[in-house]
C-alpha cells in the first residue's frame, strides 16, 4: 500500500518583481512560479514531474528541499511541516532530504577529492565519530552508487573522473547520510546516452534497495515514463494533470498533456507524426492569462475557460485533471478543435510576446 513520505498541499512560490523606485506605491507584481500544487510522494516510489522550461518544476523541487522558502502551503514530512521550519532548525531536517543536480561538472567542488566531497555531508550532520567510521560510510555510499573499486577513487578530483562517474559520486554524496527522500533535478540530461541508462538504472535500484522516495524532475517525458511510478505534468506553475505513470501516459486527458505527449519524438522511422494540438507560445509568467492558464493555447478552449479557474477533477482513482471538461475528454479521442474566431492571429503570433 502506498505510504506517503511527503504530502504536499497547496504549495505556492511567488517571486516579487522589483519595479524600481518610481513604482513604490504600485501593487506588487509577482511571478507565480509554483501555484497551488498538491501531490504525495510515496515511500519506495518515484514521483516524476515533467513540463517545459519555465513551468516551475525545478522551483517545486527546490521548495521541497527547502532551498527556497515556499510562499504558502504545506509540505508534510513525518508530521512536521517542512514549509514552516525556521531557518535555524533546517539542518536537522536536511539530513532527510538530499538533492542530485543536473550538472555533475558544476555540482562537485573541483578542489575536493571524492572522499572529501562524499564525507562532507557527514561532517555537516555530525555523523561518524572518527575517520574510520567516515571512511566506511563513504566507501559504502560509493559502492551503493555503483562505483567499482571505491578505494581507488577516494583521492581523485572531479576532473579525473568521467561524466558518469561524477554523477555517481554526486549520488553517493546524497546517499551517505541515509536520506528519506531524494530530489533529483534533471539528473541525467547532461549525460551521454551510453552513460545515461546506467545512472537511471542505478537510481531505480536504489529505490528498490532502500525503499527510497524520489522527486524526479525532468523535461523528457520518455525518461519520466521510464523512471517514475507517478507522474505530474506542470504548465505555468500549475499541476495540470497527475496520475500513476501508465494511467497518465495511456489516458492523457488534459489538453496540454495531450499536446506535450504528441510532440515527443519516437525513435521509430515508421511512426507517423500526429499534429500537436496546441497554438501559440508560452505566455509570460508575469501576466498570466485569466481563467485557465492554458486557454490561450488550447485548441478546445470554450468561453468558461477564459473566465474561471478550473479545479482538479478526479476522472479515475488517483487521476486528477485540472480542466473543466476533464470528464468529457477522459478516455476519448481528442474532440475536434473549437473553430478559431480569428485564424490569422495564430500564425502571426506563433512565438508570442
Amino acid at each position: 500500500m502506498a505510504e506517503p513520505v511527503l504530502e504536499i498541499k497547496n504549495l505556492k512560490k511567488y517571486y516579487e518583481i522589483k519595479q524600481g523606485i518610481l513604482a513604490f506605491r504600485a501593487e506588487p507584481i509577482y511571478v507565480k512560479a509554483v501555484d497551488d500544487l498538491t501531490f504525495n510522494i510515496n515511500k519506495g516510489e518515484i514521483y516524476g514531474l515533467v513540463g517545459e522550461s519555465g513551468c516551475g518544476k525545478t522551483t517545486t523541487g527546490r521548495c521541497i528541499a527547502r532551498l527556497e522558502d515556499p510562499t504558502d502551503g504545506s509540505i508534510e514530512f513525518q508530521d512536521v511541516d517542512i514549509a514552516k521550519i525556521p531557518k535555524k532548525e533546517l539542518r536537522g531536517f536536511r539530513k532527510n532530504v538530499q538533492m542530485i543536480f543536473q550538472d555533475p561538472y558544476e555540482s562537485l567542488n573541483p578542489r575536493f577529492t571524492v572522499f572529501q566531497a562524499v564525507a562532507d555531508p557527514l561532517t555537516v550532520h555530525a555523523r561518524g565519530q572518527n575517520i574510520e567510521e567516515r571512511l566506511d560510510a563513504v566507501v559504502k555510499a560509493l559502492n551503493d552508487a555503483g562505483l567499482k573499486n571505491p578505494y581507488d577513487l577516494l583521492e581523485r578530483f572531479p576532473h579525473e573522473l568521467s561524466g558518469g562517474q561524477r554523477q555517481r559520486v554526486a549520488i553517493a554524496r546524497a546517499l551517505v547520510v541515509d536520506p528519506k527522500f531524494i530530489v533529483a533535478d534533471e539528473p541525467v540530461s547532461m549525460l551521454d546516452i551510453s552513460i545515461r541508462a546506467g545512472v537511471m538504472n542505478l537510481m531505480l535500484d536504489i529505490k528498490e534497495k532502500f525503499q527510497m522516495a524520489y522527486l524526479f524532475v525532468t523535461h523528457d517525458v520518455a525518461i519520466a515514463r521510464y523512471m517514475s511510478d507517478n507522474l505530474g505534468v506542470m504548465y505555468l506553475g500549475n499541476l495540470v494533470e497527475s496520475a500513476g505513470t501508465d494511467q497518465l501516459i495511456n489516458n492523457a486527458t488534459h489538453p496540454y498533456t495531450r499536446a506535450l505527449l504528441s510532440a515527443v519524438p519516437i525513435p521509430d522511422p515508421d511512426y507517423e507524426w500526429v499534429d500537436v494540438p496546441i497554438k501559440g507560445d508560452i505566455p509570460s509568467p508575469i501576466n498570466l492569462p485569466k481563467g485557465c492558464r492554458f486557454h490561450p493555447r488550447c485548441v478546445w478552449a470554450r468561453d468558461i475557460c477564459k473566465m474561471k479557474v478550473p479545479e482538479p477533477i478526479e476522472v479515475a482513482e488517483g487521476h486528477f485533471v485540472k480542466c473543466f471538461f476533464a470528464e468529457e475528454f477522459y478516455g476519448n479521442e481528442a474532440p475536434p478543435p473549437v473553430p478559431e474566431i480569428d485564424p490569422g492571429q495564430d500564425v502571426a503570433n506563433d512565438d508570442g510576446q
Binding site: E52, P267, D268
Partner: protein, 335 residues
C-alpha cells in the same frame, strides 16, 4: 544527382598530448534532395565532420587524408596547405560557403551577434554573397520570415527580443538566404522544448519538401532524425559504425554499437522494458583502442576485434556496418 561524396576523410587535431583522431576513414554520399542524420554521442566526431565539410575548422585541425567531392569537384584538396591544415581564406571556399553550403548552428542563442538587429545580420549574409540593393535584401528577408512563420515586424528586433524557437527559426532563414544546395544543421533543436522542437522539425520537413533541399542533420538524439532523415550514419570514436537507409538501420541493425545506442533510449510508446547501458566510457581519441574502437565496450567482442580494424561490410539489406560480425549481429546471433 550526386551532390556530396565524402571519401576516406580523416581529420586529426594537434594538441599538447599528441593527435586527436577525431574523424577517421569516413565515407558517405548524399544525393540531391536527401537528408542524412549524423548521430553519435558527444566527442564522437560528428560535429568535426560537419565542420570539416564546410571547412570551418580551427587552425589545429589537419586533414590527414580524403576528399570532399561537392557537385563533382573536390573542394578539400585545393584548400590544403603542405602541412595538411586548411587555408582559411581561400576565395573559392568562401564563395561556396553560405551560397552553396550553409549551416544552422548549435545553440541559436549564441550564434547571433547580440548587439546587431537580427534582420541586419541576415541582410549582411545576403549582401556579402550577392550584388543586391538593401531593398532587395530586405524583401528576401521578408519572404523568408513568411516561410518560417515569424511576423515581419520582428525583423528589426535584437536577438534577445526573440524567444528560443524564434531565434532558431531566424537561423534557419539565414541558412536559406541563397537557396544553398546543402545545409548542415548542427543540433538544430537541442536547446528547445519538445513542442518547439516538433515545430522546428516540421519547418525543416516543409523546407525539404518545398525546395528539395539536401541536408545533414547532426544530433545526439536518434529520435529526432528518425522521422526526418532518409539516411543515417552512426558515429563512434571518430568512425562511422553503421551507415544506410534509416529504416534498415533502425529495423535491421547490424552493428553492436548502434544496437546499444538505440537500446539506451527509453520510449514513450510500446512496452516498458529495462533499458541497457553500455559498460565503460567513450575512449580517448588521443589514444583510441586498437582494432575496432568499440571492442572494449562491446559484448560481442572476440579476439580479432582487439587487433584488426573491421572492414565495412555491406549487408543484404544495403546498409554498411563496420563490424567483423555484421551479418551475425544483424541476424540477432552472437548472443
Amino acid at each position: 544527382m550526386r551532390l556530396l561524396d565524402v571519401r576516406d576523410l580523416t581529420l586529426h587535431f594537434k594538441v599538447k598530448e599528441g593527435w586527436v583522431h577525431a574523424v577517421e576513414d569516413v565515407n558517405f554520399t548524399l544525393e540531391s534532395g536527401e537528408t542524412l542524420g549524423l548521430v553519435g554521442e558527444s566527442g564522437c566526431g560528428k560535429t568535426t565532420l560537419g565542420y570539416g565539410i564546410s571547412q570551418l575548422l580551427p587552425d589545429n585541425a589537419h586533414v590527414k587524408a580524403g576528399q570532399v567531392i561537392f557537385k563533382g569537384e573536390d573542394i578539400l584538396t585545393p584548400s590544403l596547405k603542405k602541412n595538411g591544415t586548411l587555408k582559411p581564406y581561400r576565395q573559392e571556399i568562401r564563395e561556396l560557403r553560405w551560397k552553396e553550403i550553409s549551416m544552422i548552428f548549435q545553440g541559436a542563442m549564441n550564434a547571433f551577434n547580440p548587439v546587431q538587429k537580427v534582420g541586419d545580420q541576415i541582410i549582411e549574409a545576403i549582401k556579402v554573397h550577392s550584388d543586391v540593393t538593401r531593398q532587395e535584401a530586405v524583401a528576401r528577408v521578408e519572404e523568408l520570415y513568411k516561410l518560417i512563420g515569424i511576423p515581419k515586424d520582428r525583423i528589426d528586433n535584437y536577438p534577445h527580443e526573440y524567444s528560443g524557437g524564434m531565434r532558431q527559426r531566424a537561423m534557419i532563414a539565414m541558412a536559406l538566404v541563397h537557396n544553398p544546395s546543402l545545409i548542415i544543421a548542427d543540433e538544430p533543436t537541442t536547446a528547445l522544448d519538445v513542442i518547439m522542437q516538433r515545430r522546428i522539425l516540421s519547418e525543416i520537413k516543409k523546407i525539404q519538401n518545398e525546395f528539395h533541399m539536401t541536408m545533414i542533420i547532426i544530433t545526439h538524439d536518434v529520435s529526432v532524425v528518425a522521422n526526418v532523415a532518409d539516411k543515417i550514419a552512426v558515429m563512434y570514436a571518430g568512425r562511422i559504425m553503421e551507415y544506410g537507409n534509416i529504416k534498415d538501420v533502425f529495423k535491421r541493425t547490424a552493428n553492436p554499437y548502434t544496437k546499444a545506442l538505440f537500446g539506451g533510449f527509453p520510449s514513450l510508446k510500446g512496452e516498458k522494458k529495462r533499458i541497457a547501458s553500455i559498460p565503460g566510457n567513450p575512449p580517448s581519441l588521443v589514444e583510441p583502442p586498437t582494432g575496432c574502437r568499440f571492442h572494449p565496450r562491446c559484448k560481442f567482442a572476440k579476439e580479432i576485434c582487439k587487433t584488426e580494424k573491421p572492414p565495412f561490410i555491406t549487408l543484404p539489406t544495403g546498409q554498411q556496418s563496420l563490424c567483423h560480425f555484421a551479418n551475425e549481429v544483424q541476424q540477432g546471433g552472437m548472443a
